[in-house]
Symmetry: C2
Subunit: 675 residues, 2 copies
Amino acid sequence: MTKEALIVFTPSGRRGHFPIGTPVLTAARSLGVDIDSVCGGRGICGRCKVQPGDGEFAKHKITSSPEHLSDVTKVEDRYAEKKGIKAGLRLSCQAQIEGDLVVDVPPESQVHKQVVRKRADVRDIEIDPPIRTYFIEVEEPDMHNPKGDWERIQEALEAQWDIRDVSCDLRTLQGLQVALRKGNWQVTVALSEHDRKIISIWPGLKEKVYGVAVDLGSTTVAAHLCDLSTGEVTVSSGIMNPQIRFGEDLMSRVSYVMMNPGGDKDMTAAVQDSMNELFGSIAEEAGIERSDILSATFVGNPVMHHLFLGIDPTELGGAPFALTLNSGLDLYARDVNLDIATDGRVYILPCIAGHVGADTAGVILSEGPHMLDEISLLCDVGTNAEIVLGNKERLLACSSPTGPAFEGAQISSGQRAAPGAIERLRIDPETLQPRFRVIGSEKWSDEDGFGDDIKSTGVTGICGSGIIEAVAEMFLAGIILTDGTIDGSLAAKSERIIPNGKTFSYLIHDGVEGEPSVTVTQNDVRAIQLAKAALYAGVKLLMEKMEIEQVDRIQLAGAFGSHIDVKYAMVLGLIPDCNLERVKSAGNAAGTGARMALLNKKARAEIEGVIQRVEKIETAVEPKFQEHFINAMGLPNTVESFPNLETVVKLPEKRVAEPAEGGEEGGRRRRRRRG
Amino acid sequence: MTKEALIVFTPSGRRGHFPIGTPVLTAARSLGVDIDSVCGGRGICGRCKVQPGDGEFAKHKITSSPEHLSDVTKVEDRYAEKKGIKAGLRLSCQAQIEGDLVVDVPPESQVHKQVVRKRADVRDIEIDPPIRTYFIEVEEPDMHNPKGDWERIQEALEAQWDIRDVSCDLRTLQGLQVALRKGNWQVTVALSEHDRKIISIWPGLKEKVYGVAVDLGSTTVAAHLCDLSTGEVTVSSGIMNPQIRFGEDLMSRVSYVMMNPGGDKDMTAAVQDSMNELFGSIAEEAGIERSDILSATFVGNPVMHHLFLGIDPTELGGAPFALTLNSGLDLYARDVNLDIATDGRVYILPCIAGHVGADTAGVILSEGPHMLDEISLLCDVGTNAEIVLGNKERLLACSSPTGPAFEGAQISSGQRAAPGAIERLRIDPETLQPRFRVIGSEKWSDEDGFGDDIKSTGVTGICGSGIIEAVAEMFLAGIILTDGTIDGSLAAKSERIIPNGKTFSYLIHDGVEGEPSVTVTQNDVRAIQLAKAALYAGVKLLMEKMEIEQVDRIQLAGAFGSHIDVKYAMVLGLIPDCNLERVKSAGNAAGTGARMALLNKKARAEIEGVIQRVEKIETAVEPKFQEHFINAMGLPNTVESFPNLETVVKLPEKRVAEPAEGGEEGGRRRRRRRG
């Protein structure tokens, strides 16, 4: 009778008896335990490392010892010499079972590794990429067997990996013979699983392959290079979107195309070229070849989606805002002129509607509202705010035209978030004196050393999160009334309140030595009111459609969401009342969605399925939107209550001033109200 | 009770009862009768024309009348006005059944039309192209339904044609919105059936689409433009292969790559550019757009196959002659830089072995040896001869290095088949006087008016078929002995036998007024002997492997096969004995194979299956090949008998001369014999 031993794998807990001499990897596979391997058990990739347990494992009723494994083999010695191996770890393809064992499969050796995300309220990312690599040994050609090299690769894949029915595109075929001979009939191939194509081939063992997840914003582009086997982000990089020279915001880019037929081609070339540069610099920074990048995923709003793909966005510029397509799209990288691995792939997430793009699809994928019973509100705030509301039963989405005020644009002292910009602000309600923090310093303006910290930049203006806090603090300090008017009567009390034509401004920082002064004008307040009313009206519209009064959880996505203090967002009435502890910044959730689609093939199917059942609400044709918009102009707003907010800040008693005279936005608002 | 009528479709004979008022097309479909339609029954494509029978049809026991159809509709009137319609024909989508009818579906209205081939011994081509067009009406976009235009096209295909699960590549997506709006939401799409992709889209109804079948020879390229719905060849065109400047024959082109690394890229660019030019000129000649060409199929030898695909052919230049792949390859036209329809396709037939290419696969597909019980021998003769032998049970193939003699190259007076070249020759066995025909004239050289006919060219040389006839006639006239020696003793009898160093030549034409003389030298005879021995040795090798003494049918493919008189081929012993009535020129069989793969999707699967079971014989490593080669040097050859040949020509009594002195080939032959 063959001698057997009991082996228990952790953390899975799977167990079984195996004949003495069975390689640990073989035992693991027969129990369905997930151990990684690229080289197929040849002891050269090192992916299958395991840790034999030492001692008594009461839980498993077994006594394990590293000595219950066969001696370290020459193959393992060679691997350790070349690549190093942590003491106590063994290559499971080499180590054979010689007695009872508990064998731990560390996370890095698992096939379906988890990337644990920092935030507790979102799910981890399971590593299950759509493209995998396989090392194979290929039979040499022979005069008496005239099979092609490609056909012998197919045979090797079938014999060594049980992989069948694969095909290969021309570009990869073109390099196949050289790779085989250079690798001495040992090669690594990359298989795109969904369409069963070999998309790249390398001589010998290819140890590391990569993908890039890209959030293609109208203003900035953020890219993350990920190791496709560990999910680890190796390099992150960002650039400005070069299309800015054709128009700051999306609608001006669409107008550019309308005014300059064929202009979309210039914009497509600009963004595609800049992607190539970005990928090149990322590869350089990571010390890898461009050809080591097998795939890339992209998210972006509908206009960026179309322009990146070389599709004229004109239809998105006017009703009915028809998308060319609203499915996810799997392409060859060369289709978008991206130079990565030979037949490298690009996946672009699906758009939801003409105003709700693949970036929102990325936010949904990242934040997972469709997996929860509780009601999530997701807001991705930029020049437009994309809003998603719902739970596993029902999801609604809309886009609301917030304008650029939240990004510090069209604000008198506004600027992008850059060193020198005020980003935090507090106002003493008694003295009305401000204190603030500036990007580039950790200190408040009234702390020692602040001046030294910012010597190189000075105070240059106020960024998006700064203006939110400024207006909110002005409201909390009573400088702004509930209708948004700056209370000119306070000029008597504080020299910070200064007349400015027919209205008043609040002086935050008096420029010294040629520095500009930083003030908040009545028009600035109006701009913020319009922006926040638009956001809130969109949220309110969706809440009404959903027939709910309260949301359980709010995720603020995007750069804006990352920097804003959620308390002030609620003080201004950007978002509805909610337990403040359940209001979170989701960071670059769209980018995280792109990363999930890069690392997990099921995530692609998931988001394509989810967006099919998102109900899209077109704010432009909803009469209630206008009504909500007007009602949301006040601070926090004129019709809602904020019981949760009132537990953390003392809201001023509601005060309404006489109708203000000046201020274009104020005037526009009144015209709308009459209209 | 609903009134019904009996309807019988011819030629299928399918019959059924239908309620009065049923459109004929609907009745046909429900009976599985094959009637074409692109517009889906809208009366605009005219593909569904049928002919109602008039009178009593005893066979079908029915009396039919055109009046048993509803009156001609306005739609039919409009169609007739725009496009014309033959009297008596009706559009079956418009005409409704009002009484018993026999309805004939003419060939041009059948979906699976047959292209009848001229030769009785080969099968017809069934039209069933891998790409088809469909006319659809697409729902307009709507603000409340944010589906993309592509998704609405998918819905239209499903609703109007029951076509599901299609996808679309980026290039076609890029033009989709414009086409839909230009066509006022009516478009024609082209569907590639095997991968379910929409590969082109046109506004409105697209009536005609095309494909091109190409035989990519080392020397010449022949292309045929085919209507994909009728199979009709609209334009045929040919050009010289521009790679000739890199080397006349294949091996010198492979050497060029070996000597000039990267030189394959120049050759690839040369052939791909010339294909684009050829396709452009074909489109122009046919009066169509390049974008009307949806697909192209290619055949070619392994070196041309690799070079056209941009694959370095170096491995084909030496043992073990490894192909990159031996499967058929379905590509995008842009992969080979071919400018046709947006996502137009290219299919290249499979190669069989390193020396037996996709051209031979085309010959097999065209001539169908794998469908017959009898044994076919296929020879495609060029610089190499590809030989296929077998039947439905077993197929063998090899390539034999015949050299360029059969093409008139390396022959002292040799030239390509062009005006001025001698192509036919007879020698009077008594007087040894020749008479001949020259390309450019229908007359023999001893007929009146011959001189006038060829005035512009004169007699410039002798082409491949001419040299075959010359050597064969010299043999039949006793000028050449069975071992190939020109019998110098006849110089006494005829001034046509002239000494030439240590050997003799035969003077065919004495050049006048600066014209060259045309002679057949001893070396010319040796070159032909070597070429024919190589061909015969290959055939013999396959016959031995197959264990047969006799073939049932011989098909000579290629330009050479088209011009040669099969009787002389047998006199020289190029081919084994066979009933001369069963020896045929297969014309450009490789090109016909390409045309079949263009027009019939099953033909692709068929040839890919067949080549899997072809047994490839490598002549270079078969010791018996050399032996057969030597034995085949004589005329007809020294070891075989030709009973069939002897019924049509009187072979000279076997005579062997004293060993000839001069003649390099003769010398080489003797050295080989000794070796």
